[in-house]
Structure formats: C-alpha cells, structure tokens
C-alpha cells in the first residue's frame, strides 16, 4: 500500500488558491461601475451569446470572470435562489446581500471540500433608489466577500484596469461616461508610439441596471442588455 504524503493544511490551501488565481488571471476583465444613472456592467467578450453578465432579479445583476461552465452554474443557481425567494415571500425580499452570502457559502464549501476549487470571481450588484443605496459585492474563489463602493474590477489585468478606473471615477458619472471610463480601463495600454484602437462594440458586452426603470421604462426589472447598435449609440 502506498503511504499518503503529509501536506500541511496551509500548503494545501495555498496550492488551491494559487491554482484558482492562475485560472482567473487568464481571462479578460469585467468592470462594474456604480454611477448617477444606475450601475454599468462592462466586459470584454467577443461572444454574442456566452454571457459574462446576467440578470438575476429585478434590481440585481451578476458579473463573472473565470471558467464559463463554473460561473454559469452559479448564475443559474442564483436565478433559482432569487425566484424561489421572491415567489415564496415577496419580490422586495430578494436582496443582493442574501444572494451574495449564499454565493460566499457555496464558494467556500467548494474551496475547502471539493477536489478542485472554482476558478471564478463574481460580482453581485444591486441598484438602489439613490447611489448611496447601491450595493456591490465582490466574491472570490475561496468564498471571501467584500462590500465595495463605486466600482469593482475582476479578471486578468484587474490591477491595471482598476487603477485606470479609480483615477477617473466620480459619483456624478452618467451611463455613457461610465461605459467610456470602463472602456478606457479595458483597452490595453499603449506600447511604444503605436496608438491603440479602442475596443469595437462587437468585442464588448455591456449591460446596465437602470436606477429609474419604473418611471422611465415602466418595469420593475432594472436590467437591460445593450446590443452592438445600442453601444455605438451610447458612445456616439
């Protein structure tokens, strides 16, 4: 019989975390920005149908980076959680805080108990009646959860993108400005003298949580996905 090698818990967790981090760092970035008109979610994503950003509930959206099958299963679980809760209690009892803590628990359980941790990073965003009531939660592969204000950046070049957006962020930004700022952060840095072309709409996935969806569009559902034409019109 082969003897099992002893691996200290510290080493085990460190290895798992390194493994997950490596997986996430390969992906492209996603930016979630809270602004005056609501919350803008912008991702670099050339696929028109495999989404990194999704609707969870009336005021709640989801954004993720990492392995598609893993975050897609988390997104679907989130939609089920929210719909069951809203159906059995009331629509207003579905909150980003509740959803984020469910995600934190499942990510934490997978990180410690399963063969392999999830190689994902998630953001859960809830738009409020005023900007002070917006909620942005950022969840990492090990189940740790952070409550952010203003914006969240996840994925490969997170630090670079984050510093670019941090420099330009203001509470008074409108949707168009917020998306422009996100684009500025996501566009790869200039190398030498060659100016870098900004990302075309077809390489972007943009969605927004409208703060005034009830009065402006007559619907509780604040989530709106923008197609290429909408993106071009917004940035024009």
């Amino acid at each position: 019989m082969t003897q099992q090698f002893y691996v200290s818990p510290e080493q085990l967790m460190k290895d798992r975390a390194d493994f997950a981090r490596k997986g996430i760092a390969r992906g492209r970035s996603v930016v979630v920005i809270s602004c005056a008109d609501g919350i803008a979610l912008v991702a670099e994503n050339p696929s028109p149908s495999l989404h990194k950003i999704g609707e969870i509930y009336d005021k709640i959206a989801f954004a993720a980076v990492g392995k598609y099958n893993e975050f897609e299963s988390l997104r679907q679980a989130g939609v089920r959680y929210a719909d069951v809760r809203g159906y059995s209690y009331d629509r207003e009892d579905v909150t980003a805080r509740g959803l984020a803590s469910v995600y934190a628990q499942s990510l934490g359980a997978v990180f410690t108990a399963e063969q392999k941790p999830f190689e994902v990073e998630l953001a859960v965003a809830e738009v409020g009646p005023s900007q002070a009531e917006d909620h942005l939660y950022r969840l990492t592969f090990d189940g740790s959860i952070a409550d952010e204000h203003s914006f969240v950046v996840m994925g490969g070049q997170a630090e670079k993108v984050s510093s670019a957006i941090g420099a330009g962020w203001e509470a008074t930004l409108g949707f168009a400005d917020a998306v422009r700022l996100a684009l500025k952060g996501l566009t790869p840095a200039q190398e030498g003298d060659q100016p870098v072309a900004p990302l075309p709409p077809s390489a972007l996935e943009v969605a927004m949580l409208d703060r005034l969806s009830e009065s402006a569009r007559g619907t509780r559902r604040a989530f709106r996905r923008l197609n290429d034409a909408d993106i071009s019109a917004l940035l024009a």
Partner: protein
C-alpha cells in the same frame, strides 16, 4: 443502462421554474397543497370566485378585459379584485374560477416565464407559453375535481408571426386556439352574445375597448356574479391590450370614458330587457 454524469447533469438542467419547485420545494406549488378533510364534490367549500373575462383580437393585437367582482355564494366577496394580469412583456392572462388558486397560479406562471427568460437569455415562444400554462392547469385537476377549478384565458402577441393570438383552456389543461374572440366565467354566455353582434374583423384598439366594455356590461346585466361599471366607487373593468410594442394596461380615464358612454347609451335607450 449506465447512468453517466453527463446524463445526470442534462436531466437536472431545467429552464422551468415549476419543475425546479417540483423537485426542490414541492410544497410551494399552488396545486400541491393538500386540502385534507376539506372539500367534496357534493359540498364545495365556500371560497371567492372570479367571473367574467372577455378577450378579442383587433387589427394589430389582442385585448383582454375582466370585471371587478368576486363572489362567495350569494355574497359579494370583493368589488376590487383584478382578474387580468400581464404574464410577461408580450402576453396577458385572465382568470375565472376559484380566486385564491387562480391568483397563485398566475404568480407561478409569471415567475415561470421570467425564469425561463433569465436562464435561457431569450423569451419563450407564444406557443411554448400557452403549453406551459396548459400543463399548470392540468396539475390543478385534482383540486378542480373537488370543485376548485381555475379556467384561464391566455392572449399574447406572436412576435415571429407578427399577430395577436388567443388561447382558451378546459380544466384538464386542454388548450384551444380561439380566433376572433372568446370569453370565460359564469357571465360568459351573455358576454359571448354581445361579442357575436359587436365584434368585426380589424377593429381599432379604441373600438375593441368599447366592444369589451359593452359585452362586460351585458354580462353584469344578467349574471349576478359579474360586476358592472361602478360610478359611485369609480371602478371600471381591468383591460389590457397586447400589440407589437408589448402589453399595456388601459389607463383609468379611457376606461371611465368608455364605461360612461355605454351607460349613457343604455340610459337613453331606456329598454327593459
């Protein structure tokens, strides 16, 4: 045959909210609650009933209207009840029958459609929605046999065909596409007579509204379980139209005007029957 992981995953992947509830939280389904020691067919329980719904097609869409009365035996249980609901952006649902179960079924149906849309990232086809509703009504069959039946009417805009369509159901979940117009509930026989005389192809939305109000008025005239327009409490029927731009609730002032003109015309005519 060996059950592979892929098979299991595929079997568990559902876009249906009802199937999810059936698997994980069956007690939340409106038709899964046991009514022990309760109803028998001989002595049905006394619960509020919703009555007349009318629906018709017009040039460019469909319209659905319901009166505001719920009855419990010979007592008026509510004067404010709403029996027509938006199901999603392109469809509406009207309910007649046992009010409590019907309202729960409506809520379930609304979540079902929204759930599918969120999971799949696309809307269900109108036929798909109509079939889902049929399955839910069939699920309610055991309760219907105890006297707690729900009979819906479903209308929506078929975005692929570009037309408004109308579906009726029986208690077994049987689904029937209706052309022109249809009506359900205890006042439906009277409303149907009115619709047969007043409806014609290619009505405008405004004409369809007055036809709907008039046929509901006729139903209320002869059926005690259907409420007419209430000028004292300013209560008018609930009316939705669905066309290319989506479902729209007809606002109160338009309904008040349509109801008043029907009342006025009948006052002038002053006929007995």
């Amino acid at each position: 045959m060996q059950e592979s992981t892929a098979n299991q995953v595929a079997a568990n992947a559902t876009s249906s909210f009802t199937e999810h509830l059936l698997r994980d939280r069956p007690e939340l389904l409106p038709f899964n609650r046991s009514l022990q020691g309760g109803a028998s067919a001989a002595a049905p329980v006394q619960v509020p009933h919703a009555t007349t719904i009318v629906a018709m097609s017009y040039g460019g869409g469909v319209l659905m209207a319901g009166d505001r009365r719920a009855t419990m035996g010979n007592v008026i249980a509510s004067r404010h009840i709403e029996k027509v609901f938006p199901a999603d952006h392109f469809s509406v649902l009207g309910i007649a029958g046992t009010a409590g179960i019907a309202i729960d079924l409506t809520r379930l149906f609304q979540v079902e459609l929204e759930h599918y849309e969120k999971i799949e990232g696309t809307q269900l086809s109108l036929e798909g929605k109509a079939n889902r509703l049929g399955a839910m009504i069939r699920g309610n069959l055991p309760l219907a046999l105890q006297g707690l039946a729900v009979v819906p009417l479903f209308a929506g805009f078929d975005t692929t065909a570009g037309v408004g369509r109308l579906f009726s159901y029986d208690v077994t979940g049987g689904r029937y596409e209706e052309h022109e117009h249809h009506t359900v509930g205890s006042g439906s026989v009277f409303a149907r007579g009115a619709l047969k005389k007043l409806w014609r192809p290619n009505l405008t939305a405004a004409e369809a509204l007055s036809v709907a109000v008039e046929s509901l008025y006729d139903a209320a005239d002869d059926d005690s379980a259907t409420g007419g327009p209430d000028t004292v409490r300013q209560l008018w029927p609930v009316v939705y139209t669905v066309d290319r731009t989506g479902a729209r609730r007809v606002p109160e002032p338009e309904l008040a005007a349509a109801s008043r003109s029907v009342i006025e015309a009948r006052t002038i005519a002053g006929r007995e029957a």
